[in-house]
Symmetry: C2
């Protein structure tokens, strides 16, 4: 039987590339997407397209209720910042930061991994071009893994859980180069924090800015449909 892994899949460049890496490493992939806050069906649809294209064994979409707490431009009524230059992205923590987001996402992944008998979780965090989120750093991931190995019945019974971060040291350009070599079709993906109902990207939020820069750095034509060019 193929080893199973849970892969966190938002439908953007990073998580899509991560899913391709997990598949290439021989895992049967269980893709996990979250529906939360204001990023709605466009993102979920991108994740569905990607999961299908990359042959995920299962794809679950879990709705989580972070709006009750507020506190982020991605979950509350705060404007997404636009037109910031690359040099400013990653300085400090932006308002698009979602409190404890990766901690919540990994906790659901941990639960699902235990249920399907997976000892591996893939998450597409990068400490380069990481938009200044504390829960994208390797020391955070290491601490999460140590906690997870005390948290579950599986761990108590000796099944060691491993969190894979294949992008952790890669720039956006490197990620796209790697994904190209794995045959990823980035036209399926969506990165924008503020997509229109026709799925076009705003071209101006931090996620669009980093995405554009990544395609430029990789020397790959950007397949994104931007509203503002």
């Amino acid at each position: 039987m193929m080893k199973r892994t849970v892969v966190l899949l938002s439908g953007g460049v990073d998580s899509t590339t991560t899913l391709a890496v997990a598949r290439q490493r021989g895992f049967e992939t269980y893709a996990l997407t979250f529906r939360y806050g204001q990023r709605h069906e466009a993102e979920v649809e991108a994740a569905r397209r990607v999961a299908r294209a990359l042959g995920a064994a299962r794809h679950e979409v879990v709705t989580i209720d972070l709006r009750a707490f507020g506190g982020s431009a991605l979950t509350a009524d705060i404007a997404v910042p636009k037109d910031r230059v690359v040099a400013d992205i990653g300085k400090g923590i932006p308002v698009t930061y979602v409190p404890a987001r990766n901690t919540i996402f990994l906790s659901y992944a941990l639960a699902w991994a235990e249920v399907v008998g997976a000892q591996d979780i893939f998450i597409g965090v990068s400490e380069i071009d990481y938009s200044g989120y504390p829960d994208c750093r390797p020391e955070y991931i290491g601490a999460y893994e140590r906690m997870a190995n005390l948290a579950t019945k599986a761990a108590v019974q000796g099944q060691k859980l491993k969190i894979h971060t294949p992008l952790i040291h890669l720039s956006k350009g490197d990620i796209i180069t790697m994904g190209q070599s794995l045959g990823v079709d980035y036209a399926l993906t969506l990165s924008c924090y503020d997509p229109a109902t026709d799925d076009t990207a705003c071209g101006r939020c931090d996620a669009c800015t980093l995405r554009r820069k990544g395609f430029e750095a990789a020397g790959v034509a950007d397949p994104t449909r931007y509203r503002v060019v």
Copy 2:
């Protein structure tokens, strides 16, 4: 301004006592309850009664979607075990174990704590009478706290998060004795894994068995309405 804390509140004996302890220690309390799996409105209603009686500043009920994953008698279609003797409860991990439950609960608590500016979280876990759940052990809580202190913007900015476990070394009897001294009305609480629609407890699941034993050990009259006596 009073220091704020998030308190995980299921509406059972342990979390209710924990909320009373947090209040006694001078915190403004933000009570957090989860609606998940088959334990439904009876549990949530108990939590609402308790939050009101113990003067919580806010009470949020968050719905979480663990049934998509299955894997537990509390979230999937597996029978809750009945009539086990106390000596057998805590030997091994029962089918009522919910994968990564406290990890998910604490992750939402961490998010809410950050949003309301709380540096403290209270959780009513006990390593005594703990039903054999790995995520009730002190080493797990310690690892969670270390991870949390790397996870958030608040932590990166130097606000240290503390997870309080005031019941960790207490038996159910000790917990009830302490709650009595704090004026807790346990008639408001609900522990049963399998309550009837009229809120009566089954009297036979592990939670009922431990609860009965606790009142006996504390020498306190048990206010619970059991279906089976």
